[in-house]
Each structure stands twice: as structure tokens, then as C-alpha cells.
């Protein structure tokens, strides 16, 4: 078996696919929880591309940024989850089509 070298462009392709899945999920799914998870997916795709670029250029900036993003993402998902729970408590739904209060 020949060892296949993981080229950075492959990582970028994976990142693109994951990002697209996340984006479509956010746009198409109606459940806020799933939407939040898809946002996480998009963030991870971005992280992956950061790592890939970092390797491509043989620098450390990308890796460090990823660490930042991961910390922020953790905080963000905690807050997001909290918000969704609060919304569920008051509105009894997490369907994004039902929540259009700003429109009126």
C-alpha cells in the first residue's frame, strides 16, 4: 500500500464540503438546535482550512487562530444553546419559521 500524502488542497476540499453542508443546514433546516449545530459545522470547516493554510505556508499563525476560534466557538455555542432554551421556554417552539417577531 502506498502511503497517500495528505496534500493541503485535499483538506481544503473537505473544508469546503463541510462548510457547504453547514451552510445548507443553516438555511434549510427549521430547527434552531440543528441550525446551531450547523453553525458549529461551518466554524469547524473554517478551522480546518486555517490548519491547511498554516501547513501550506509553514507558519504558525493559522494554528493559533484555530485555537482562538475554538475557544470563542465553545463560548458561543454555550450562549446560543442558552438562548434557544430560553426561547423554547417562552415561545414553546424552536421552529425558526414561527419566530418572526421582528417583522411586525
Amino acid at each position: 500500500m502506498t502511503e497517500v500524502m495528505v496534500e493541503p488542497w485535499m483538506l481544503l476540499v473537505v473544508a469546503m464540503i463541510v462548510f457547504a453542508i453547514g451552510l445548507l443546514g443553516v438555511i434549510l433546516r427549521k430547527n434552531l438546535l440543528v441550525m446551531l449545530m450547523c453553525v458549529e459545522l461551518m466554524l469547524n470547516a473554517v478551522n480546518l482550512s486555517f490548519v491547511a493554510f498554516s501547513r501550506m505556508h509553514q507558519t504558525l499563525q493559522g494554528d493559533i487562530t484555530v485555537l482562538f476560534v475554538m475557544t470563542v466557538a465553545a463560548a458561543e455555542s454555550a450562549v446560543g444553546l442558552g438562548l434557544i432554551i430560553a426561547m423554547f421556554r417562552t415561545l414553546k417552539t424552536v421552529d425558526s419559521d414561527q419566530i418572526q417577531m421582528l417583522r411586525d
Partner: protein, 612 residues
């Protein structure tokens, strides 16, 4: 002592009574006719004494310098215009001041008795004082705006007093009519002031008297001033308010609508006589209007049944005589008639008031009769007034009226036509006044039996003014300027006395044993339909115009344009609102599409940036 006392005394009375009225009205108490009346009469009498003193002081001065002046403060000063609040007393204004304060205080005194039963005498007396304050401003003002202050001020007081019993809507409307018709005239006054300022550069009366203007400006100015006078002095075309003004209390009619306010037109014309005289057109118009008013109003007076209306039309007619005098350039005789008229017409009104008072608000002369025995003082004084207005010698009216008749014939501006119409008016005057006298005091009694028992002579406060005015009506004419009478003038005198006697005789024959009620000419009684015509043309016209403006211009054009333009804006707003669906995911979709589009534009070379 200063001139300002003349105006401040009535002002004090006004303020005192005004606050006294408010104080009582707030606690729903009746103000005392005695307290308010005595104060009001007191200040007027004090002003009369001041006026007498000034009259005496004035007569001590040399003939060409008879003038007192007092500047109180500066009123309006802007650019070249400098209007001060200054009082000026000369022989003309001192005569008017004497009439206003003298006759005024008598009528104030009379009012104490007349208004004793009224609900709010303090209010009444405060208005009366306000009137005197404004009237004195009118005759003492040293410049046109100051005169205008008095001019509108007396109109205001007149409005308040005509509609004094304001719970009666008709009386209020009569007051409103008077005020608005006066304001129509006042517009003439205002524009005359603008013209005077533009062409003379000053509004001071002395500057105006000295001013030389182009003939055209003189004519326009004179006509505008005269127009203002027709409003205040109830001449054609603005005379119809005066008969309605009789809705006010009778002493008010005597003071405002007979003796003083309505003569302010004569005052103004005389005051500005140098300008008025400079234009023949103006003089002719004044003379024609004056004599026509005198005749027409006398004719209308013959058909009235209301005692006060007869006197009102009589006042209009007599004012016409005064304007006739001004129109033929004989301002002195006009002013002389103002004085004698003030005495006898105030007397006649107060006498009528006494009759009305005695008969408990009965005003129809066909429901009176044979009151001579029951009202001795009233009837004797009334006869004196009657003789004076007829122009029977030696009563006061004789001197002034004959002077006017003579001037209308002999003056450079007079002519036979004016004289004949004036003489005819004098004849009619004799007729309707005798009719009034006979129907009220002589003949058979037609009084409502229920009221018959309660007929009583006036109390002392009312009787004293009657007697004083009776004496003045007799002697008032003796102090005019006497001059040698030519033979022709004697003829005129004789003719007028004969005419008066003839008119009186006919009326006496017709009415001495009159019974029932006379069917008078409706056309004349209603003031020849002028009132109705004005109502349908001006009052309705204003209403129609405002209706048109409201429905057509405002609703159909202004509001509709506004509605449409707002609708257009609203619609375009809705158009863009479609995009705002409110779903987060739809927004995200739009963002996605936008990003893709921008990327395509940038990287695929769709736009110019693609070529970078």
C-alpha cells in the same frame, strides 16, 4: 392737574368696577348698583370738572394758541415712524370732551336708577366707563393710531354693551353685527393710515393737517376716511347696525348710539378737514351721502313702531344732517349740531327709557298713549327734546339745524338740490317725532291693562338727568357763534320752521285719536330691505365663500393632493416591504445569493473589477 386725568379717571372706574364685578360673580353674589354706579358716575363727574377747568383755561389762551399737549409715553417707534401716546386738547376736542364727560356723567347717573334691578350692574358700569375711556382717547389722541385705539375701543365697548344681556342670542348677534360693520369701516381707516404714512411720512394729526398731497392721494385718503366714518357714524352704506344696536340697555343707546360714539365720524372729518376740503370729490360724496342718509332714514323712521327704533333711525337721519354740513364745507355747523343733538337726542332716549321702564319693557308705541299725566317729568322734558329736534325756536336744534340748511344752500359747495332734500328730511323729522310724541304721551291710552296699574314716574336718579338735559336742549343752541343774518337766511329759517310746523300738524291730526295698531309700510319698516340685502350678500356670501373654500379648494385640492402624495409614498414603501419576509433563513439565503453574485462579479470578470 394734567390732561391724563381725563382718560385715567374713567380707566380707574373701569378697573374698579371690572374687578368688583369679577369678585362678586366668582362668589355668585349680586353686585350693588349703588356702589358701582356711584363710583362710575363719580369718576365721570370728576372728569367733567377737569374738562370744564381745561375749557376755561383754553379760553384764556390767545385764539391761535389754544392747545394743551401731554405726551405720556412713546408707543411705537420703527424706522421713520414715531407714534407717541400723547393727548392733545384744542377747542374742537375740548367741546367733544365736554359732551362726553358731561352728557356721559348724566347718563351714568341715570343708569343707577335704570339698572338697579339688573343682575350685574358692576359689569354694566365698567363697560360704560371703558366706553368713556376709549371715547376720550379718540378725541384726545394726537395721532391717527391713537385715534384708532379709541375708534376700535368704542366699537368694542359698543359690542359689549349691545350684547350686554348675553344670554339672549339675538342681542349678542346685534352686537356682533355692529362690531363687524364697524370693522369694515375700520379697514378704510387702516388703509388711510398706510397711505398717510407713505405719502406724508407721519401720522401725527398736526402734520397731516399741514401736509400737501397730490389731488389723487387726497381724494383716496379722504374717501377712505369717510368710509371709516360711515361705519362708526352709521351712514349709507354701513348704517344697518344702528337700529339693531337698540338691543342694548336704553342708557347705552343714549350715550353711545346717539350722543357720542356715532358722532366720532364728524370729529374725525373735522379734525382732518384741511385734507377733506382739498378734494371736491370727497366733499361732494360726503354731502350726497349725508343728505341721502338724512332723508332715507327719516322716511324709515316714519314706519317704525318700536320707540327705540324710531329714535335710532332719527339718529341716523340727524347724523346725515351733520355729514351734510361737513360735505358742504361747513364743519363748524356740523360740530354745533353734534352738540345740540347730543343734548336733545340723549334726552329723547333717556325719556324713552323712562317710558319703557315705567311700562315694564314695553317698546311698541301703539301700546302706549296718554302717559302725560302719569309721567309728568318725563313728558315735559320729552316735549323739550321734541321741540329741539323739530328745530322750533328758541330750542337748541333750531340754531344748529337752520345753520346746516342755510349752509347747504349758500355755501360754495352747496346747491339747491341738497337744500330741498334736507328740507324734506326736516319735514319728515317733524312728522315722525310728532307721531311718536302724540302716540306715547297724548291721545287715548292703549296700554296693556295689566301694566296700567304699575305705571310710575322715574326715580330721582333718572329724573335729574332728564331735567338737566331738558334745560340744555332749550338753551344749548344759544352759545353758538352768532352772526348777522341776511334776508335770505331769514327766509330759510322761516321756511324750515313752517315745514316743521306743517309736519307736526299733519302728524298731530292723524294720530291724536288713534286707536289700535297702525299697519306700517313693511318695506320702510325693515329698513328698505338693505339689511336683508346685506345679510344675503355679505353674511351669506362670506358663508358661501368659506363653504366653497372648505369643500372645493381645501378638500378637493389641498387635502386630496396631500392624500395622494402620501399614498404614493406609502405604496412605494409597501413595494420594498415585500422583501422583508421576516424569516432568518430567507435573509440568509439572500445574503448567500448576494455573496455569490459579488464573487462572480469580482472573480469571473463580470464587472470592471474582474479585469484587475
Amino acid at each position: 392737574m394734567s390732561l391724563s386725568l381725563l382718560i385715567f379717571l374713567p380707566l380707574i372706574g373701569f378697573l374698579f368696577n371690572g374687578f368688583y364685578h369679577l369678585k362678586m360673580a366668582r362668589s355668585e353674589q349680586k353686585s350693588s348698583a349703588m356702589i358701582s354706579g356711584v363710583i362710575a358716575t363719580g369718576v365721570m363727574f370728576a372728569a367733567f370738572l377737569v374738562a370744564c377747568t381745561y375749557y376755561y383755561m383754553l379760553s384764556q389762551l390767545p385764539a391761535d394758541g389754544r392747545l394743551f399737549e401731554q405726551t405720556l409715553f412713546q408707543w411705537m417707534k420703527l424706522g421713520g415712524l414715531n407714534v407717541s401716546f400723547a393727548l392733545r386738547l384744542d377747542s374742537l376736542s375740548s367741546l367733544f370732551v365736554l359732551i362726553i364727560t358731561g352728557v356721559g356723567s348724566l347718563i351714568h347717573l341715570y343708569s343707577i336708577g335704570y339698572m338697579s334691578e339688573d343682575e350685574t350692574p358692576a359689569k354694566y358700569f365698567s363697560f360704560l366707563n371703558l366706553f368713556c375711556f376709549m371715547m376720550l382717547n379718540l378725541v384726545l389722541g394726537s395721532n391717527l393710531p391713537h385715534v384708532f385705539l379709541g375708534w376700535e375701543g368704542v366699537g368694542l365697548a359698543s359690542y359689549l354693551l349691545i350684547g350686554y344681556w348675553y344670554q339672549d342670542k339675538d342681542k349678542v348677534l346685534a352686537g356682533q353685527k355692529a362690531f363687524i360693520m364697524n370693522r369694515i369701516g375700520d379697514l378704510g381707516f387702516l388703509i388711510a393710515m398706510f397711505i398717510a404714512y407713505k405719502f406724508v411720512g407721519s401720522l401725527d394729526l398736526i402734520d397731516l393737517q399741514k401736509a400737501t398731497l397730490t389731488p389723487h392721494v387726497t381724494t383716496v385718503f379722504g374717501l377712505l376716511i369717510f368710509f371709516a366714518c360711515t361705519g362708526k357714524s352709521a351712514q349709507i352704506p354701513l348704517f344697518t347696525w344702528l337700529p339693531d344696536a337698540m338691543a342694548g340697555p336704553t342708557p347705552v343707546s343714549a350715550l353711545i348710539h346717539a350722543a357720542t360714539m356715532v358722532t366720532s365720524g364728524i370729529y374725525l372729518l373735522t379734525r382732518l378737514s384741511p385734507i377733506i376740503e382739498a378734494s371736491n370729490t370727497v366733499l361732494t360724496v360726503i354731502g350726497m351721502v349725508g343728505v341721502t342718509t338724512a332723508f332715507v332714514a327719516a322716511l324709515m323712521a316714519c314706519a317704525q313702531t318700536d320707540i327705540k327704533k324710531i329714535l335710532a333711525y332719527s339718529t341716523i337721519s340727524q347724523l346725515g344732517f351733520m355729514f351734510l354740513a361737513c360735505g358742504v364745507g361747513s364743519f363748524e355747523s356740523g360740530v354745533f349740531h353734534v352738540m345740540t343733538h347730543a343734548f336733545f337726542k340723549a334726552l329723547l332716549f333717556l325719556g324713552a327709557g323712562s317710558v319703557i321702564h315705567a311700562l315694564h319693557e314695553e317698546q311698541n308705541i301703539f301700546k302706549m298713549g296718554a302717559l302725560r299725566a302719569k309721567l309728568p317729568i318725563t313728558s315735559i322734558t320729552f316735549i323739550a327734546g321734541w321741540a329741539a329736534i323739530l328745530g322750533l325756536p328758541p330750542f337748541s336744534g333750531f340754531f344748529s339745524k337752520d345753520e346746516i340748511l342755510w349752509q347747504s344752500l349758500s355755501s360754495p359747495h352747496g346747491n339747491v338740490m341738497l337744500f330741498i332734500i334736507a328740507a324734506a328730511s326736516a319735514f319728515l323729522t317733524a312728522f315722525y317725532m310728532t307721531r311718536l310724541l302724540v302716540l306715547v304721551f297724548f291721545g287715548k291710552s292703549r296700554v296693556d291693562p295689566a301694566k296700567q296699574k304699575h305705571i310710575h314716574e322715574a326715580p330721582m336718579t333718572m329724573a335729574i338727568p332728564l331735567m338737566v338735559l331738558g334745560v340744555l336742549s332749550l338753551v344749548g343752541g344759544w352759545f353758538g357763534e352768532h352772526h348777522e343774518h341776511s334776508g335770505q337766511e331769514m327766509m330759510v329759517m322761516a321756511a324750515s320752521v313752517i315745514l316743521a310746523g306743517l309736519g307736526a300738524g299733519i302728524a298731530y291730526q292723524k294720530y291724536k285719536n288713534f286707536e289700535g295698531e297702525e299697519k306700517t309700510n313693511q318695506f320702510l319698516m325693515s329698513g328698505m330691505g338693505v339689511d336683508l340685502a346685506y345679510l344675503s350678500v355679505f353674511a351669506k356670501g362670506t358663508g358661501t365663500l368659506s363653504k366653497w373654500f372648505t369643500t372645493y379648494v381645501e378638500e378637493m385640492i389641498v387635502q386630496r393632493t396631500l392624500r395622494w402624495s402620501t399614498a404614493v409614498v406609502g405604496l412605494s414603501g409597501n413595494l420594498f416591504r415585500v422583501v422583508q419576509v421576516g424569516s432568518t433563513q430567507a435573509y440568509l439565503m439572500m445574503i448567500l445569493i448576494a455573496i455569490v453574485a459579488i464573487m462572480a462579479w469580482v472573480f469571473l470578470g463580470v464587472g470592471q473589477y474582474g479585469k484587475l
